[in-house]
Symmetry: D2
Subunit: 445 residues, 4 copies
């Protein structure tokens, strides 16, 4: 995950970045940052935490200028977590540069090894640092634009990049289009580029179009220019529809909530079950459960409640409180559940522990049968393109058959939506999407 | 609002109070506290904030003993907000006492004036202090039980009380039964009394029965005894069903989620509308919207999303971001809304400003028509029994006709459920409930 | 300890209270509070912590009016530490009242028992609550002034009180004058009453005179009136000179720094020692050490440094760091100490553990001899008049002979100043002071 | 300023770093950090704030291994303050490296420009990053030791460096020996290198010797080896004696407290004044004032008190409180000062504003005459070797004659110690020290 945003040509550039990042907070809660340029210098502020915790009104006096880029970070693994936040800023041969990156490079290690052999130093664990190095060391080229093109041709993997120099902004999407990146026009002037269109709605921007796979959009002299720098080879991440993106966003040209409902409908067609009610795991399974209910005719009930006061508590549970963690977050409505056959809908199963706790909780609440239906195929392979999935060993579906998983999570039945079902739901060509986490067919390694 | 809990006869009494308060946090977020007794002394810890912010593991070593009471407070108006948290503890003629109170007394001022004339001092703004004074000054009676009975016979209004002495616990509900109070048996030993049964589910307790209106339950010598101290005159607060209580709680013998759905069904019968979809204002309107949809056959869509990262931000919005506050909290799914006729369901309208912002937001998202349907009658009168409603002047429905409100909130149509509709939904006698906020018929003043 | 302040007749009353409390922070770091009156209502804000942590600029908009009282609290023992802060505010028969109190009552328990028998409730552990009760229950008298006089005639012990009503302020000092209380005139208008004159210097006030033992000063109609309500029987706390008060304050008519130096001189006369240098324990022993040096001719050296970055650290020391706590706070200058005979001066020894650590540290630094000289007699009895001394069992001098203490603290010699030495130093009559902690002669019990 | 520490061969390496940094906190309060190596990987934790605020017990489980280096940072100017903390860690061609640096390079900009031309990127504003780049890019050499030697031969200026690789530690001091760096033996095993010996006293280490100017000490295979890599050209920073170092430290072979006293004595010889008492500005002027008093025979008085509760307050002063900031920190003892002629001793004057406030405060307290004596020459030039002096424009002595400064600070007389006086005080050769801030003779530019 992670989200990126760029604002060009608006006097409130850094503040609009802030609001955009707030709306994309679901794509990364560990760290966030903003760089802005006033034409002379780039200023950067980044830190760990949520965007509302990091930024104060006074920061926007420092983050001045009419161009800014921002980032929210999903996880910060590695040696020095303070440094591992974006944007990554550097001074280099052509001046100053700052980069935000959503995605993951598959040849980062090779590039890193090659560069360190030539004397480069790496201060962070982020792929983004590679890209700056490639740009900085390309001294046969005299313009940043040329250098960026050279650099992105050397990197492989998933990248939705926004690059800020002191006077320009560049937005680039890899030829596979793994991660989304959309272009909009701000009602208050200038342009916005963001991972998800939900940012456009909050800051008041009109959607223009997606940045094309392989395209570089250049923001300069108050204009935008486009250049195709790669032959597109569409492999959009299907997990954006299943889990990542916000329901109100348009991703890869389609509405996410609608896609999830359609997947729920396909799930009902493929995997019917005789039940009294369809119950979503909130909030992840709500849209698919609605689709399942509409298709199957089985009534939809919000019979599991999500607690909004879940915060961190350090009070040890007394012995008698079993499965406390899930119970503090989710509460079953016993009155509705007691004696009933439930189809429980969720978007995915990763390790299986949460599903198991939910099933137990529903049985304690008196459910007669619990049929788990998952609105995506079994996740058997890790993602190398920017999704922070666990290792293969941790993915329950890579170690167990569906029957065994069903037993493990203590459900009466368990079934997953097929890849084919997804294709039908999204009404698009299979080859346009990456299903590697489900079938191990990695477009690039 | 406010919530109360009492645990009797369990070695983890204060910790079980903590978890119970956590599950009833929706009834009061301003302050919280716990008193416990180890038979020799009562210890109290209370503070402003959420229960997870106030209590740390080490506090439970101080809050020892197998009896404890707790409270979450909705609002702390008044002179000294630090003092205005509960439990209210005091040393008095018979030893030590601590009280938690959900409700509001209508004769608090009279009692206060009378008592101060006789030399009493009042250090807080809470009605609870009156009750302790009445108990302390009743020196013709030699037992706490007798004094409590004398005291509660002097107070008028709404009171669900739990009283802790060094060796006993008392639970009392006023004769009208305005506020809920339920009795349960802990699987790990002992008893629990709590405002809502959702506390029972988290801490592992079986529901026994509601404390009856006018009843006092005494917890002593590891037993419970019951005594009716008032003639019951049932006037249960209808707003518990409409807004306060958690959907998974059983309140006044009925499930709250189920009641809300039934009200939604009645709303659909009373106030049909020709629309493309039923959309709840999340989360308050969800259950009623499901009922409306099931009754009317109009599809239910979660077309307004609730943002879970809403925290406090002190960043001033740029001029172009209109209605920022509601937009940071709620996001419409434009794809679904565009060109559609919507029935928007909410539980109530207080000042009208939020409804107005929601309607505007839906229009900006392209809604063709916005029909607002409210799953309760228009709130025209303030509550004197513990609900923190605004003054009559602030209640939009006390100043404007429904037509005017509709105009103000910029909806295409607006309608409220009738009192009769509520009666049908709850399938109970009208006289058992207090509808004063809707019709001005106050059971006691 | 504890400090009190009252401001009358200044539009910045509460803010001047804040600065006064800041300057008297050394008299109590646990909690602080301010009450102010605008003629109509008294507002109170109090909390745990330092005054700079508790008060924010916005609070002074709430704490309005031209009269205010404040308090810093030394320790908050007891049941409910949140409540145990001052001022203590109450509504009572004559309106509103708020009190701050420095001192300790010896008959608090008797009064409390008597009052609870008559139906009073006590919500805190503070003696101050007794005083409010006595005032409130005195309904044969119709004016606050009369009631205050009645009340203070019932209490016994140490009390420097400031009482705020909605339109008046009263300052009262017990007949013994145990605790200081001074009156000043603010250059910006109005009057100030404070425990120490150092407050006058910070806020810009001229010292007028001390409030007399047994006197009540009434601030009303922009004037001050005085009334003697007790026959004075002077027993001023000698520990104010030895330890409590700030060196720059004038206490009981004398300068504290000067008194300490004089005591140091007497110490040198009484207890000479053959040494290379006089070394104070910073900061408590500095003034006495200067006096000792000037009298004895032995050079004064600041050979123990105080570390200003001592904050709370929760890092466990590694095994090899002995006596870490004292070493993080105090550092010996080895270069000066090595091979030298030291006279180390401190103001008092309580438990002996710190002295022991200091002696050890000096030996590790190479001191040839360490002679400890204490600028006060051995503390053998607890104080009942407001000093938070440990119990008799904890006072090392109540359990051990001076020889044994010397052995325990591992010094080469140890000697204490005599009571007679103190008398000579302060050049005043012995009978005007309370020496109970040194000789057990309690003026009142 | 800034401080550095390195621990080698002790299982509690990172914790001993923590305590060392605590004792050197006076050399930098803005940021701090520690890197440790367990032989396989280097871990780093750094942040803004005081060391006691940054480090928690759990961090030492991450910062494992028996080698560690640490840093406290004085100020963090620049673009991205989060990054501008040390140690600076990087992965490079030979593995992993982490560096701490006390001092300032005069050719940092040239190196930076040259390196960026060759493709290097700079992510911080710290000179330390240059050094890592030089090491990383020196690919003709195969060992870190050789590369370090090459690198430090390219840099010019002040550097006391400690470099950590996965299995070795290096300590290097520039040929001028501008900044101190001492070597000690830990009683609990292994070695310590630190800016000041006060660290040795806290963690339990014996002073061995200073790292020599131009020396590199290599810690490897549990041994230390020394190599001279530069011809020494001693120019030790005289300001370490005047202001920076802690009085209990041995710096450049001499005790700091003793040096300050000696300077005070020279000040008395050079600049006698007819006065009643010698008063230090606490704590900076204490040692010099003691020397002045001992030399002149004028009594020493601690007639200005330092307030230990100075914390940050955001309360705006009322109009009548003049010079609030200095008054909250320093309090004159009026009783001692009134009508007296004072010699006030401080270590230096930078902008003059604080001195002016102190003089005013003393006059308000009744001083008859205020003679300011400064225990160092007038500071007229900025430092380029690691002292964070203001620019030349801000230094009052670079703009005004001593007479004018005296007038500005409103003193009766003002005099500074001469460079010659310092030489006499330290009893050392002038050419061994850098006096550039006093005479503009920069040893290297």
């Amino acid at each position: 995950m992670c989200s990126v945003v760029g604002i060009y040509g608006n006097e409130n550039a850094s503040k609009l970045c802030f609001y955009s990042l707030f709306s994309m907070q679901h794509r990364g809660q560990e760290a966030a940052g903003i760089s802005s340029s006033d034409g002379k210098h780039i200023k950067t502020l980044k830190n760990r935490g949520l965007v509302t915790q990091i930024f104060k009104e006074e920061h926007f006096k420092i983050l001045k200028g009419d161009m800014a880029i921002g980032h929210t970070r999903y996880s910060t693994a590695g040696n020095d977590s303070i440094l591992d936040a974006q944007p990554v800023f550097a001074r280099y041969g052509l001046g100053e540069i700052s980069i935000v990156h959503n995605g993951n490079l598959v040849n980062a290690k090779e590039i890193r090894n090659e560069l360190t052999k030539k004397g480069a130093i790496f201060q962070t664990n982020m792929d983004t640092e590679n890209i700056i190095h490639l740009i900085a060391k390309d001294y046969t080229k005299n313009t940043l634009k040329e250098r960026i093109i050279d650099a992105v041709k050397k990197i492989k993997g998933a990248f939705s990049l926004i690059i800020l120099s002191r006077s320009k902004m560049f937005a680039i999407r890899d030829p596979f289009g793994f991660r989304p990146l959309s272009l909009g026009k701000l009602k208050s002037g200038g342009y916005i580029v963001a991972s998800e269109t939900c940012a456009f709605d909050l800051v008041g921007a009109e959607f223009i179009r997606d940045i094309k796979p392989g395209e570089m959009v250049i923001f300069e002299h108050n204009k935008i220019k486009s250049e195709m720098i790669f032959e597109p080879n569409l492999k959009q991440c299907i997990f954006e529809y299943i889990y990542f993106a916000r329901p109100d966003s348009q991703v890869f040209g389609k509405n996410v909530y609608h896609m999830r409902k359609e997947m729920g409908k396909e799930l009902a067609k493929e995997l019917p079950v005789n039940a009294d009610m369809v119950v979503p795991v909130p909030d992840s399974g709500v849209a698919a459960a609605l689709g399942y209910s509409q298709q199957s005719g089985i009534p939809f009930e919000m019979a599991i409640m999500r607690n909004h006061y879940v915060g961190r508590t350090f009070i040890e549970p007394t012995q008698e409180i079993r499965d406390l963690k899930v119970k503090m977050k989710l509460s079953p409505i016993k009155y509705k559940i007691k004696g009933k056959k439930l189809v429980v809908i969720d978007d995915s199963i990763v390790r299986g522990t949460t599903s198991r706790r939910i099933v137990r909780m529903l049985r304690e609440a008196g459910a007669k049968e619990v049929h788990m239906r998952i609105a995506s195929p079994a996740t058997i392979d890790p993602c190398y393109y920017g999704v922070d999935t666990p290792t293969k060993e941790e993915l329950i579906a890579s170690k167990m058959s569906i029957e065994k998983i069903c037993e493990y999570i203590e459900a009466d039945s368990l079934a997953y939506l097929s890849i084919n079902g997804i294709i039908k739901a999204i009404k698009d060509k299979k080859e346009n999407y990456c299903f590697a986490c489900f079938d191990g067919n990695y477009p690039i390694l």
